[in-house]
């Protein structure tokens, strides 16, 4: 969005307050205007519009799922998404991983003094659009402003509430030997997109984040009556961390095959260049599903029909009850351990 768009759509008079001031979090008129004209206007829905201190709503029948996550991504805007859409997708996806239908979100903003008003508006609009796409309402929130230098532009926390409209117990503890492991698409795009922008790496093409809501395909699996043993989103630590966590919780050995893991060529190239392994890189719109072998072909078909998971594949299986272990078959046919990454992924020297 350019400055003209902003002037035409931004509800605050930009000429007076082009940047966030401490007073925007001070409880007075400026804060009131910010809440009313930015958040209230963008996120408007019957529950939010009552302007209570707490949101009031009727609990739907079924078990509830609740999750919270904080978003501190740098840069705020990146190819394929921004902190606002991520704050919605990430929390909605966490709800989806218990098979819940996401219903409501809260949103708390910690804004650094001096943040351009246009930046905040762009993020708020992106959150609004993402929430609409996910079918969730943002029903309450909070705004704090911190002194220059005490924040990093903008942090967002969202808490999500969803309802489980199924009796299944989706958990790593439900994982059984013989189960198949499916992933919902190609790996590594979000992490490499962020790294490319953050470090000023210039590739011939732009790698776009895979940030997307995945509740749709998960609910489709449930609707079709697929028995799901476990779901896990493949965020920080990537596929390797998710599989190791499952192996550890379920006390099983998991075996996957490198050749079945879809990785886009540009992502693979960037990873090769930096000495990283795409299975360790973060995703924001990918998940894995563990299902019984007999349900795997139908589950795969359902996932592939959904636009966010067209490249879903079966990558391996739970082989036996054992000491927790994940192994990967290399393209040469040999097997090796697939461990969690050690701390932060650091690009190598040469």
């Amino acid at each position: 969005m350019n400055a003209t768009d902003f002037a035409a759509t931004c509800p605050l008079p930009i000429s007076r307050y082009p940047n966030i001031l401490m007073a925007h979090g001070g409880g007075g008129k400026l804060m009131h205007r910010l809440i009313e004209d930015f958040f209230g206007r963008a996120f408007s829905n019957p529950i939010l519009d009552t302007r209570h201190d707490s949101a009031q709503f009727t609990v739907p029948p079924g078990r509830l799922a609740m999750t919270t996550d904080s978003y501190v991504v740098r840069p705020i805007f990146f190819p394929g998404g921004d902190i606002g859409s991520m704050a919605v997708h990430g929390t909605v996806n966490d709800l989806a991983m218990s098979g819940a239908r996401p219903l409501y979100l809260t949103s708390a903003f910690i804004i650094e003094e001096g943040l351009p008003m246009a930046t905040l508006w762009r993020v708020v609009c992106s959150m609004r659009d993402a929430a609409e796409k996910c079918g969730v309402q943002i029903i309450t929130g909070d705004t704090k402003v911190v002194d220059t230098g005490k924040g990093d532009g903008l942090f967002i926390n969202t808490t999500g509430l969803g309802v489980m409209e199924h009796p299944q117990n989706i958990s790593p503890l439900a994982v059984q030997p013989g189960d198949r492991i499916l992933i919902s698409g190609d790996l590594g795009r979000h992490g490499m997109a962020i790294m490319a922008v953050r470090e000023g790496l210039q590739f011939e093409c732009t790698i776009e984040s895979d940030s997307a809501p995945v509740a749709g395909p998960v609910l489709d699996l449930i609707k079709a009556g697929i028995e799901i043993h476990c779901l896990r989103d493949l965020t920080r630590g990537g596929l390797a961390s998710a599989l190791n966590e499952i192996a550890e919780a379920a006390r099983v050995k998991i075996t996957i095959d490198q050749k079945d893991i879809p990785i886009r060529e540009d992502v693979q190239a960037a990873c090769e260049l930096l000495g990283m392994d795409p299975v360790h890189v973060a995703n924001e719109g990918r998940f894995l599903a563990v299902v019984p072998a007999k349900a795997a072909p139908q589950a795969l078909e359902i996932l592939q029909r959904h636009p966010v998971s067209t490249r879903a594949t079966i990558i391996g299986e739970v082989s036996e009850r054992s000491m927790p272990l994940v192994t990967i078959k290399s393209v040469l046919g040999s097997h090796r351990i697939l461990d969690m990454p050690s701390g932060e992924q650091l690009p190598r020297i040469c």
């Binding site: 470090e199 040469l332 097997h335 351990i337 701390g343 650091l346 690009p347 020297i349 040469c350």
Partner: protein, 370 residues
Amino acid sequence: MKFLEEYRDQGLARQLAAELQRATTRPWTIMEVCGGQTHAIIKFGIDELLPEKITLIHGPGCPVCVTPLEIIDQALEIAARPEVIFASFGDMLRVPGSSTDLLSVKAHGGDVRIVYSPLDAVKLAAENPAREVVFFGVGFETTAPATAMAVYQAAQKGLKNFSLLISHVLVPPAMAALMSSPNCQVQAFLAAGHVCTVMGYQEYFPLAEQYHVPIVVTGFEPLDILQGILLTVQQLESGRAEVENQYARAVRREGNQLAQELIKKVFEVVPRKWRGIGEIPQSGLALREEFATFDAAKKFKLTHHCVPEPAECIAGLILQGLKKPNECAVFGTRCTPEHPFGATMVSSEGACAAYYNYRRQAPKEMAGVP
């Protein structure tokens, strides 16, 4: 992906492995010099495809691993200073000094930044005239030209706030030192392909002749490594000790002469201590006198002191190929990538890290074979 997938072809790998089986009649011990090759060998399970008679030992070609403890300590001391922006390649950040590491210095307020090229550090210096920017110049001949270019550019720009902590090392003197050791078991070398893209391979001819050892310049993909091993075995079996170039798609005999000239212009060859091995004559690069103002050790008046290695760490023996990582008493128990005793466990190219990440169990157990 072009230039990648074709070098990871399973069918061709099996063909090369079969050819190796036919070619091998006696036991041979071959050292792959470069840590990048070690990782490819373990990651792709290349050693599982080899005849039992062939033993690979993992050489000292990991720049992170051989950087001496006292230089890491100097880096930590500089990075903790409030006026300094300390710029480093990413994998140096986790390497433990005698008390802490760069990531911890950063957590305590040090301005430590990851850069992808030394030239990024020069840019940082130009953009932050009020700060002292220090680049940690680590690596073999592969990264030396970029470091030299950074010094050259900083001199051209007249930057006064840029300096370098240099720990560049040279591969051929280390190979000579290994061959001179009475414990040496190495019968042939896979030379590090990327070092040779810069330096060419002329300097290996005297080595091959003096120690009667085959040296095959080798790339980093599975087929490169298998072919490199095949060429070495063919030499060993026929009693030849020649220099061959498997990595011809990237390496020329004379190397990259422009890069070599730049290295010569900025650096002089000096004796250098290698972590775990000790001092090797004429095996390091130091800034020439005319570029001495860019020497961070001088600028910050650092004192040089000797620091003992943790007693239980056998990184030295591993770097010389005398022990395998899993023969170490603390491997995978008290020494892990999260809590490394020595640099070979830290670096993504270190032999201990490769074994830890990819192979804590026997390959057969991993494949589920009883």
